[in-house]
Structure formats: C-alpha cells, structure tokens
C-alpha cells in the first residue's frame, strides 16, 4: 500500500506533489543526473580495485579487416591492397606497444612514431598511413567507423597505398580490457624515386609529414641526399603472424553497454512519467506553472534516439 502511495506521488500529478509527478521535479532530475555521474565515476574507479572485470568482448580477425578494407576499395573503383607480412608484424608491434605503454594515439608518449615500426620490420616505404580503432566488437563496425570519418576514409581509399598490415591485440588499456586494431598502409620504396611521405590521420586533422629531404624523426638508411638511389626493398623473411584467434574475451561488464542500458532505462522511465503527466493534466484540466511537457518529451525522446544509435568504439 505504501509502495502504491509512493509510486502515485512519484508519477501522478496531485496536490501532494504540486500537480506534477515528483520524479519530474527539477530536484529529482538533478538527483538522477548526479546518480548517473556517480555511476560513471564508479566505472572509472572499479578497474583499479578489480581489474579485468570491465571490458569489451570482440571477435575480430585481421583477415576480415583486410577483406572489408578491400571491399571498400573495390566499391570505390580502386585496386585492392595486398597483405604484407612485415606490415602485419609492424602493426602487431604497434598494438602491443600501445598496451604496454598505456597510450591511445598515433605517436607514443616517448615520441615513437608509427613509421618507426615500419622501419623496424624492414619495410621501407614510399607512402605510409595508419588508422587505429578500439572497443569495437566486430571488424565490420570498425571499418564502417573509419569510412564514416573523412580523414580515415581518405587513408582507406588512397590509391597510392599498395600493401596493408593489420594488427589486432587484446589487452588492458586504462583499466579496461579492450581490442585494439592497428591498420598500416604502405607503398614500398621503389615505386618512384621520390621522398617518403607518411600520414597518420588524427581526428579531424591530417598529420602529414611534409616531404623533406632530411626529415628529423625518420631515421632510415634509405634517406640520403640523393633521392635517386636505386631503391632496395628489404624484406625480412618473417612468417605471417598468426591471425588473432577468433576469441571472445570473457568480460563481465562492458562500460559502454552498461551506461547505455542504464541511460535507456532512466529515459524510458522519465518519458513514461511525462506521458502520464500530460494525460492527467489534460483530463483534469489542471492549471499550473511549469514547462511544456510536450517539449520535454521531444527533447528526451531525441536523447533516447541518439543513445540507441550510438555504438561502442573509438577511432583515431
């Protein structure tokens, strides 16, 4: 009985709640907002106490990423890129480096560039590019996310690239188990005697190293004052790395899904409360001081639509 009274007070406009369900009062909405912020703080603190509980389950194979990339290239009238063992090894090394040093960027905190991984595995490039993705559950979503970003799309659809290497690594990044995808593109030096150009697509801005005769960071033996040196492609005979096993990490809590589900539930509850409010107010012809319920329904409905569409995953 008390529970019914409480629910009545919470949702039904009445004298006791100033003709507006208590849950719709600004104070209650503020409490809900604070609760949601607290939940996020908990998700951030949780990993420190109990590691390997938060994470994203993934089922991504390098071969699938390459297939999807080539499908996009073919759909745009471009030739496919061929998988290169050295690029695969380099991409894998970059992924492992990110997990080991705990960074999510093209350039490591110690200044290590993505191109150094190319050179470490003997890939002397004419052109080079890198795309990164994390927290995606499948290869298709990751490739679609790259294609939806103009700068990453530019990398995938660059006609200058001839070869590709993919590294898929699973590990702990900032306290969350995740899957990182490293996509390296390259054109081996020797296609034409010109200066190497490398491109890492940062969000919204292209970090293109301007072609220079004496680049400061690229310590490559192939760079010399005479760019017409006969190109030599050194391929270290490295066996193709094992494709990441189709593993589904057993994680208990996906931070994104948890947040999404909780937010959807909260919004659903509020929209229900607003609907009840508008029906009761109109039926009883209650006059009151307050905002437009229809406007609140439209706003929160838009927020709900956005969170239902949003997917987990980040790209840089």
């Amino acid at each position: 009985m008390q529970l019914l009274r409480f629910l009545h007070h919470l949702f039904i406009p009445h004298e006791s709640n100033n003709q507006k369900g208590k849950i719709l009062h600004p104070s209650s909405l503020t409490i809900i907002a604070v609760f949601l912020v607290g939940f996020q703080l908990l998700l951030n603190v949780f990993p420190r106490g109990l590691p390997r509980v938060l994470g994203y389950a993934a089922n991504i194979s390098p071969g699938e990423v390459i297939r999807l990339t080539n499908a996009q290239r073919a759909a745009n009238g471009l030739s496919t890129v061929t998988e290169n063992a050295n690029l695969d090894s380099a991409a894998l090394a970059k992924g492992n480096d990110m997990l080991a040093k705990g960074y999510w960027a093209h350039f490591a905190p110690d200044g290590t560039s993505p191109w150094s991984f190319f050179l470490s595995f003997g890939y002397k490039y004419q052109y080079a590019g890198e795309n990164l993705a994390r927290d995606f559950s499948n290869a298709n979503d990751a490739v679609n996310a790259w294609m939806n970003s103009p700068t990453h799309r530019e990398n995938i659809l660059n006609s200058k690239y001839k070869e590709i290497g993919i590294g898929v690594v699973e590990g702990n990044l900032a306290g969350v188990d995740t899957t990182v995808i490293v996509q390296f593109f390259g054109a081996p030096l020797g296609n034409s005697p010109s200066i190497p150009i490398a491109q890492a697509q940062e969000q919204g801005k292209s970090v293109a190293l301007k072609p220079s005769i004496a680049p400061k960071k690229l310590a490559t033996p192939s760079l010399s004052p005479e760019p017409t040196i006969a190109p030599v492609i050194i391929r270290t005979p490295t066996p193709l790395p094992q494709a990441s096993p189709q593993s589904i990490s057993s994680v208990f809590i996906s931070p994104f899904s948890s947040t999404k589900n909780l937010s959807s539930a909260v919004l659903g509850l509020l929209l229900m409360a607003l609907s009840i409010d508008i029906i009761v107010i109109r039926r009883k012809r209650i006059a009151r001081i307050g905002g437009r319920t229809l406007a609140h329904i439209a706003f929160l409905g838009m927020i709900l639509a956005v969170i239902l569409i949003l997917k987990a995953g980040q790209i840089i």
């Binding site: 999404k260 929160l300 987990a312």
Partner: protein, 85 residues
C-alpha cells in the same frame, strides 16, 4: 490541442533544434570534440527555447527556468556519459 496548434511555429523551431542535435551527434560520431560541442549547443538551445517560449506567453517564472535547465542538464549528462567513454 488548441495551444499546440497556436504554438506550432514554436514547436517547429524546437523540432529543428532537436533534429540538428540528433544529426550532429549521429553523423559525426567519429569526432568526439564536435559531439561534445553539439551536445552542449543542443542543451543550451533547448533552455533558450523554453525561456523565449514562456516569455512570449508571459508565464516565465524561475521554476520554469529551473525545470528546463534540469531537463537539459540531465540530457547532456546522459550524452556525455556515452561519448566520453
């Protein structure tokens, strides 16, 4: 219903604001900074819409402002909790 029809231009503007916010948040999912800006802009626009709407109707009170502000803050917090994951 009468009031809704009378206020149709107001609600059309509100729909426009919300559609712009929806488009910005979904189409630019690869650009976190832009999403943050769109979420903030949509929240601020929503509160502004409420203030202007109620001012025109001469029923603008502090409680009304607080209500729109609380709804906007809640919506923005929800969006931020997802895009800042």
């Amino acid at each position: 219903m009468k009031s809704f029809v009378r206020d149709l231009p107001h609600y059309m503007l509100l729909i426009g604001i919300l559609l712009a916010g929806f488009a910005g948040l979904t189409l630019f999912s690869y650009d976190r900074n832009f999403q943050i800006a769109v979420a903030l802009a949509t929240g601020i626009s929503y509160v502004s819409w409420g203030l202007i709407h109620h001012h025109i109707h001469r029923d603008l009170h502090f409680e009304v402002f607080m209500e729109y502000l609380a709804v906007a803050i809640l919506g923005t917090v929800i969006i931020f909790s997802l895009i800042l994951q």
